[in-house]
Symmetry: C2
Subunit: 327 residues, 2 copies
């Protein structure tokens, strides 16, 4: 008993014209008089006609849908690095009237994700680098000739990618410590920390040889534990670069709880500049990666590929040191 939606045939016949003319009124290709187009558009609004999505995409072989694949999140841990990029992506696709799908990339969901890529439902994908799954997915897309943009650095084939200049960001941090008279540096690494260590060393310069390296991790708790290890191994440490802001926040919390003053006794710089960074106490000095811009740029890059651009080359995102209170 439920009535079917108005389709093009019925709609056209009510207007006393052909379906072809109706179709032309909505597309940009067909030659049609401005007058009939207006009439059709107007009638479509009053009668509530819309072209069926699947029928249209079936024949045109494109959907304009963009899919964003993000790495696994750790239960209970802040995932603000990803979410800020995602909102950047979402805002940009929305502006371009591209529907956006988002998919977590767990090992268990690989089959589903591959199906999404291969069943013809989407026109392009954006994938965050850093896991085996993401690399596999990019390969799948490549084989299917599906437009693809990678966020971050992925080894192997030359993908179109939006990359961060981690090295330079870390260098800025090292230089800042050196310039503010710090002597005993430490670096807390973790996930997504490609080239940060080397950059930090280069920026710090003369005293670079005594940099203490600690493999933190990615969570607040990791930063907390890392601080305990560092202060035990090298109590004289007076400045620390953390591979991300969450680590830095954990590190600072541990330092404060041990009676260390930040930045008095020990200066701490984070990485990413997630939005909460400036509201933390002390406000975090950090390397800003322009997370939302990353999302926007990857969408724009993908758009160009989807529009048929050949040899679209990647982009590197600028970073800058944002000096606040923690260093």
């Amino acid at each position: 008993m439920k009535k079917r939606r108005l389709n093009i045939k019925e709609f056209a016949s009510r207007l006393g014209i052909s379906t072809a003319t109706v179709s032309r009124a909505f597309g940009t290709k067909g030659r049609i008089s401005e007058k009939t187009r207006r009439m059709i558009i107007s009638k479509s609004e009053s009668l509530g006609y819309r072209a069926n999505y699947h029928a249209r995409n079936l024949i045109t072989r494109k959907s304009h849908v963009v899919a964003f694949f993000y790495p696994p999140l750790i239960k209970g841990e802040p995932d603000y690095f990803i979410s800020e990029i995602m909102f950047g992506v979402s805002g940009a696709t929305s502006l371009n009237a591209n529907p956006l799908q988002v998919h977590p990339l767990y090992p268990e969901s690989m089959d589903f994700c591959k199906d999404v890529i291969l069943n013809g439902s989407i026109s392009g994908i954006i994938v965050t680098a850093g896991t085996a799954e993401s690399a596999e997915l990019v390969k799948t897309a490549r084989n299917a000739a599906l437009p693809c943009v990678v966020i971050g650095h992925m080894s192997g084939e030359n993908n179109c990618a939006v990359t961060f200049d981690n090295s330079r960001g870390a260098m800025l941090a090292g230089k800042y410590f050196k310039d503010t008279g710090r002597k005993c540096p430490a670096y807390i690494g973790g996930i997504f920390d490609r080239r940060k260590r080397e950059g930090f060393k280069a920026g710090f310069g003369p005293h670079a040889s005594n940099i203490l390296f600690d493999n933190g991790g990615s969570t607040f708790q990791d930063g907390f534990s890392s601080c305990e290890r560092v202060l035990k191994a090298a109590p004289e440490t007076d400045c620390v670069l953390c591979a991300n802001d969450i680590l830095a926040i954990g590190f600072i919390k541990a330092a404060l709880s041990k009676g260390c003053k930040v930045p008095g006794d020990i200066a701490v710089i984070g990485f990413d500049d997630i939005k909460i960074a400036k509201y933390f106490s002390p406000a975090l000095t950090t390397v800003r990666l322009h997370l939302d811009e990353i999302g926007e740029k990857s969408v724009n890059l993908l758009k160009r590929i989807m529009d048929g651009g050949k040899n679209v080359s990647g982009e590197s995102i600028d970073c800058e040191l944002i000096v606040r209170d923690s260093a």
Copy 2:
């Protein structure tokens, strides 16, 4: 010159069987022998055949795609309340193998969002309440008989909704303040603060009449300014409930900068328990709303409606007071 994907006709003819049989091998409806089904599945993997998404959805009239509509974000401000709900939604849809679309709900994007709802591309929507746009969108979905779940309270028609027990959460906070001997309460309201004020008053009890109400807003800066107003208007204030965690963080930062001790001089309770709450200094005492569960529950509710369930009723989410260091 680019070769078309393998379609069902070609695939079937290579196996020497009919397209109908192939189709049955992938669905659950058709009667087919287990033996041929296995053979077809196996061959589809080696030959790389996948059913075309649009052709399939055109005839079956469903896509299984879920769309999530979220409210406008404030540029530069943390949007963690929404992002944590969104990740909950995303995780749940992923588990169910439902593709998830996400759309920001700006006034400018209403046409696009309505089109998404009306063009037949999605099977159900989840909408966060709180803006004129969200209410309009829900109405649109209702008219199109599209399954819809609302997150939060939306006046008007009786939607299927996942709601928070704001009143009880705020009551818990008021009671805690009373029980810990606080005398001069203030409440900082803002967005999404339905019934919190009344609940707080009820929980605080005897001294409820002198509660100072301040209309904060929703951002860190709002919390900061609010603190300045409150301490000026009522310096004796010794406990504050803020309508969300970001407000609370801003409030605390302002209080600390004025030399007020938290929680010594003034105890602060937030609302939502976004993940960063426990890492802030001081760690935030707050009313936990189980943000990720909200996402999961709304997906499960939507699924039931999509599967044809009639009269699916909404759910209210439990909340609890998480006592940490700020109160």
